[in-house]
Subunit: 421 residues, 2 copies
């Protein structure tokens, strides 16, 4: 299928009430950008057939492809399918495969479906149906008839854990069908450089390169660049990707910590598993966040056995063997305390690499140390060091921001130690 | 100011690219619902003056109040203010107070503003200006002239840490100006009951009550009900709130864990601080999340000193004194191991209350225990118990979901122990 302009319409009163964050729109927008489709409008309407119809007519008048989320459920206010099929001049017909899937779902749950549930097995005539592996409502692509000939509406369920996999696994391949090219992406992960500084270094590439395209995505303290090549079905993508990847490494390689790794904790756990190493964590101001992020990674148990949250001075002394003299002379927020915490965690855990974090995440200065002053330390046979961070304290969520960024710095330090071993 | 119908328009190509999640729309929608304003449409457009103008005209044609986010910055593609002022028939004039604020901001940063920065100090004629305490771009309310007489557009900056406080602190009071009533809310926090079950118990109240209104907000495993009374400026809100609060306590009091507490960890830390108690945490499958959530709360150091992440069997034995026999006979994921972890954490920490979590968060069964089987335990002088949880394992994020829910159950158990002491 070839389309030029797409548009997203999310249906749900819960979005208008501010009850849930619209992550579906973000996930779909990101996928459309990867496919190289233009997206100029996103909108939200409630579960109201009149306003839904108006929104659909407006979208079809200015876009080739409409993607909707929500309103596919079994209740009386789920009316996206009926309404949009009506707009596009398509009636609803029983869809045997969807009916079997609904019946099977209820059989497994040991309950009987009510007539409303079977409403989900009615599909617009001529529609392409997308199975739902994480719920009961199938999605579909409806092909416009009459005045909307040539337009396509794709309907997805509302719950993100149903919508996002269906979009990635079913809709994105559908949108590439009939194309004689395919998209191949590499995701490059950076830490320690902001989006604008990275964009400045790679200005020409990011603004001008058409194949591959280079698009940035940010989260706290990190930037991910997605480099996407469009190549023939059987073509090797490497020659298309290589010059851009080389330029990125040349300009910003010092900040690059991994390719297709997902995040810092996954990069760290993978590096540890590859080398048969273990890491331990001793945390004060991050309060367990370093350990929590490491253990987010499936299989982390092969690389992580032990973490300590030593929030008080007494715990730092008792659990990690930090000396009272250090705590009294330099304070708990000091490079000396951080180094002793890391050394103590390595001793107590038997891991080859130990990370430590101590600092003041706020909201108030403590022991004379300002908010945002953090020390992260690593102890390992190849690399033992302490880094001082002065993290910005502003806005209402600065405590969470400082903790998140401090944990990221610690994970980054662990990765360096793992590389060095 | 009295308005009937509001509409949200978010401006920013980063939203259309899926680069950032639109949390601003959620925060504003929630505030408008609290104020009792109708919101029928949300939309997103990129930094494109033509499409922005079309979106503004459409919004003004169907709504009384338009709230926009984004496009107030100093760069060439920040054109929300110019475009909307133009639509509403208002020119831009220098605004002395905003100019002083920009100059003061740059003086503090030790840099000189460029002419673009002073663009932010130009304001539409007759506008009400909202100061920005977390950034440089002020917001404003523009009052329509000519064909848009009576319509109002409120412009807010794009970064959430600037937008959300400005909306709460400046715009919500502005929208209530001239009203002879005020809104007073109580937030009731529930754990252990789903939104639909709670809605069933409180069906009449949630559907029919006009004053106070009762609106639910959900997050993983939790529901918050906001009960909002509209009362005269000097009127006591208690008599308006009391009957609804009583009905809620009668129907669902067993699941209510706090009023105006924010979340489980804040409720726990407050209860501990009030009674001068400490809590400790020993975690396996949650990997530090219980400690991390407790230490999210400012002032947690008065109630939390020590946590242990004992991911391996060896760590459970060494740090917590769990017996090898228990681990061998029942496994690390067992009620026996959970109880010994909690008892060991209480001994090792000296805290009055110790929490423990052990389970299988997935993705694979381990030691013959299925994904989602979790034991949470508490040890304290008044309450020592173990609870078995069978948490649903489905969807791509089930590991994170199981860990989050398991940590919530542990915090809830800690709260019970704190109440009992």
């Amino acid at each position: 299928m070839q389309t030029k302009t797409a548009e997203i319409l999310c249906v749900g009163t819960e979005l208008l009430m501010g009850n849930v964050v619209n992550t579906n729109a973000t996930a779909i927008a990101r996928g459309l950008a990867e496919l190289g489709l233009n997206l100029y409008h996103q909108s939200v309407v409630g579960d109201n057939p009149g306003r839904l119809r108006e929104a659909v007519e407006l979208a079809l008048s200015r876009s080739d492809l409409l993607i909707t989320t929500g309103g596919l459920g079994p209740t009386y206010d789920d009316l996206t399918k009926e309404t949009i099929a009506g707009c596009l001049g398509r009636g609803l017909l029983p869809h045997e495969e969807s009916r079997r899937a609904v019946l099977e779902h209820f059989r497994r749950m040991g309950r009987a479906p009510c007539p409303n549930n079977l409403k989900q097995a009615m599909m617009p005539e001529g529609a392409r149906v997308f199975p739902n592996r994480n719920g009961t409502a199938p999605g579909c692509a409806i092909f416009g008839a009459g005045k909307w000939e040539g337009k396509v509406a794709i309907l997805l369920p509302g719950p993100p854990r149903e919508c996002e996999p269906m979009f990635r696994e079913e809709v994105m391949p559908f949108l590439q069908e009939g194309s004689d090219t395919r998209l191949v992406s590499r995701c490059l992960y950076f830490f320690g450089i902001g989006e604008s500084a990275l964009a400045q270094k790679l200005d020409r590439l990011m603004r001008e390169s058409q194949n591959p395209t280079v698009a940035p995505y940010c989260k706290t303290g990190e930037v991910m660049l997605r480099v996407t090549a469009r190549v023939g079905k059987e073509e090797d993508p490497e020659p298309v990707l290589a010059p851009a990847l080389e330029e990125i490494r040349r300009e910003a390689g010092e900040f690059l910590y991994g390719v297709d790794v997902g995040d810092l904790q996954t990069a760290l756990v993978r590096a540890l598993l590859e080398k048969g190493l273990h890491v331990a964590a001793a945390e004060s101001c991050t309060g367990g966040l370093v350990a929590e992020r490491i253990t987010q990674v499936p299989g982390a148990s092969g690389a992580f056995e032990w973490g300590a949250v030593t929030y008080s001075r007494a715990a730092k002394e008792r659990v990690l063997g930090v000396s009272r003299e250090t705590l009294e002379r330099y304070g708990a927020v000091s490079p000396q305390a951080a180094a002793e915490m890391a050394a103590g965690a390595r001793r107590a855990s038997g891991a080859q690499i130990a990370l430590a974090v101590t600092g003041n995440a706020g909201p108030e200065p403590s022991e004379g140390k300002e908010v945002g002053l953090v020390y992260v330390a690593v102890s390992s046979p190849a690399l033992s060091t302490v880094r001082e961070l002065r993290l910005p304290a502003r806005g209402s969520d600065s405590r969470a921001f400082i903790r998140e960024l401090a944990a990221s710095h610690a994970l980054r330090l662990g990765l360096e130690a793992a590389w060095a071993l």
